[in-house]
Amino acid sequence: MTGTDALEPARPKNAARAGRRVRGTATLVVGCVLAGAIALLALVSLFWLPFPADDTSGGRLTGPGEGHLLGTDKLGRDLFTQVMTGSRIAVEAGLGSVLIAAVIGVTLGVLAAFAQGWLDDTLSAFLDILIAFPTLLLAMLIVAARSATLGSAVLAIGLAQSAVVARLARILVKRVLAQDYITAARTSGTSWPRTVLGHVLPNIWPTLVVNLALQFGLAVLAEAGLSYLGLGAPPPNASWGRMLQEAQATFTTAPAGALAPGILLVLLVIGVNLIADGLRDTLDPATRRRRT
C-alpha cells in the first residue's frame, strides 16, 4: 500500500525492458524471415506454378533434380508445385481461422466481460463447452453439413479457436475494467462505447495479438491434420496434410514427398511462434520510445 519498493521508481524496470525489447526485435526478424519466405511462396503460387497441378508427365517418384526441383509423387505430379499450392492453402487456413476466431472471440469476450450475473455464467459455460468440444468432431459435423472443402475446415478450426480467444478476451477485459482509469473515464463523462474503444481495446490488444499469432500456428497445424484425414481441401488442391498422407506409404523409398511439406510446416509454425514471442516483447508500452 504505502510506498513500497515495488511502486517506485519506474526506472529500474525500464532497463530490463529495453533488453527484452532488443531480444524481441531479433526474434521478430527471424520469425518474419521464416514465415515471410513461405508467405512469398504462397503469393507466387497464385500467379505462377512450375507445372500445372494436374500435370502427370514427370514419371512416378523421380528423385529431386532434372526439371523437377523436388522430384515427383507416385502419380507423377511435380512435388514443388504441390508444395507451393500447399503453402497457399496453409496461409489461407491460418489467416481464415484467425480472422474468424478474432471477430467472434473478441466480440463474445467483451460481451461476457460486461455481462453480469446469469448472462456471464451462461456465456462462460458455453465457452467452456466449446473449448472441451473436439475440433475433429466439430470439423466432421461441418463437413457432413456442408462438404469437404478448405472453407469447412477453416470454419471448424476458427470456431474452435474463437472459444479460446473469447475466454482470453473476457479475462483481459475484466482485468482492465477493474482499473481505476476506467472509473476515471466514467467520472470524466466518457461513454461506454468510447471507453471500450479508447481504453479497453488498446490495453488488451497486445496480449490478444500475440495470442492470435500463436493461434495462427495452431490453425495451420490443425488444417494439416484435418486434410491428412481427408477433411480438408479436396483434390486436386494439394495441401501439406494430404501430401503427407499420400507420401506415407512410400516414405522409405521416396522421402522427399513427406519431408518437403513436413519441413515447411515446421518452419511456418516456428516462424509465426517467433513472431508471437517477438511481439510480446516489443509491444510493451513502457518500451516504446518517447517522441523526440
Binding site: M1, T2, G3, L7, E8, P9, A10, N14, Q179, D180, Y181, T183, A184, A185, R186, T187, S188, G189, T190, S191, R194, H199, P202, N203, P285, A286, R288, R290, R291
Partner: protein
C-alpha cells in the same frame, strides 16, 4: 445556501449481501467548503464515494446535486454533474491509462464532455499541468515515465482541467512516500484556496484530514458515528471510536 452535494438518509445494500453496506447516512458539503469521510477498512468509505460520484445508486434515500436529486437517466443533469464533480483516486499506478500520453490522459474530461476539440484542449492541458507543478514537456510522455507523486499530480491535473467545482479525493496521498505526501497535500490546499474548490476527501489518515478539511464525518461499519468541525471532532472526540482512532495514530517521539 443549497449544498453542492448532499446525501440524505442514504442506505445501500449490495446485491447478494444480507445487510446494508452503508445505512442512514446524511451529509452535505457547501460550495467552497471541505469535508472528510474518515474510517477504517470496511467502514463504507468507498461505497459513499461511489454514491457521491453517481457511480452507484442508493437503495434508500437520495443523492442530491445542487439541490436536485441525481438521476442517471437525465443526460443534461449528468453532463453538468460530471463537469462539476471530478475525482482523484488512491492508486496513481492504476488510475492512469498506461497506453495514453499524459496529454490525452489530462484532456479526457474536456474531450468526453464535449467541451473542447483536441486542438482546443491543448492550452488548457498545458495550464493544468503547470498548475500542478509539472514541466510542460510532461504532456508528450507516458505515465510510466513518472514517479508515484508525479503521477498523482497528473491525476489532479486531469481532475481539475475542466474547471470543476467539487473535487472528490479517495485516499489521495496514502500510496505516496511521506516526503511526497506533504507536497501533494500542499498542492491540494493550494487548489482549494486559489480555485475555490470544494473538497470531499475519503481517508483513514487523520493528519491529512486535519491538514485539508474543515469538517469531518467519522464512519464506523456503514454508519456515521460523529460529524462536525474537524477541530471539534479530532480535538474533543465525542465517540469512543473516534477517540480510539486518534489515539492509534503513531507519533514521533518529542
Amino acid at each position: 445556501m443549497t449544498p453542492v452535494l448532499e446525501l440524505k438518509d442514504v442506505a445501500l445494500r449490495h446485491r447478494g449481501s444480507a445487510a446494508n453496506t452503508v445505512e442512514d447516512v446524511s451529509l452535505a458539503v457547501e460550495a467552497g467548503h471541505s469535508l472528510a469521510l474518515v474510517g477504517e477498512s470496511g467502514a463504507g468509505k468507498t461505497t459513499l464515494l461511489r454514491l457521491l460520484l453517481g457511480l452507484s445508486r442508493p437503495t434508500a434515500g437520495a443523492v442530491r446535486f445542487d439541490g436536485a436529486e441525481l438521476s442517471p437517466g437525465d443526460r443534461a443533469q449528468m453532463r453538468r454533474f460530471r463537469r462539476s464533480v471530478q475525482c482523484v483516486f488512491q492508486d496513481p499506478y492504476s488510475s492512469l491509462d498506461p497506453r495514453r500520453r499524459v496529454a490525452a490522459v489530462v484532456a479526457e474530461p474536456l474531450r468526453s464532455l464535449g467541451i473542447d476539440t483536441r486542438a482546443g484542449a491543448a492550452p488548457k492541458v498545458a495550464a493544468a499541468l503547470e498548475r500542478v507543478g509539472l514541466p510542460a514537456d510532461a504532456a508528450d510522455r507516458y505515465p510510466h515515465e513518472f514517479s508515484g507523486g508525479q503521477r498523482q499530480r497528473i491525476a489532479i491535473a486531469r481532475a481539475t482541467v475542466c474547471g470543476p467545482r467539487v473535487l472528490l479525493a479517495d485516499e489521495p496521498v496514502s500510496a505516496l512516500d511521506v516526503t511526497t505526501r506533504v507536497k501533494v497535500v500542499d498542492l491540494l490546499a493550494e487548489l482549494q484556496r486559489e480555485q475555490g474548490l470544494t473538497l470531499v476527501m475519503v481517508s483513514h489518515d487523520l493528519s491529512v484530514v486535519a491538514s485539508l478539511c474543515e469538517r469531518t464525518a467519522v464512519l464506523e461499519r456503514g454508519r456515521i458515528v460523529e460529524q462536525g468541525d474537524t477541530a471539534q471532532v479530532l480535538g474533543e472526540p465525542a465517540h469512543p471510536y473516534t477517540r480510539r482512532l486518534i489515539e492509534s495514530v503513531p507519533r514521533l517521539p518529542v
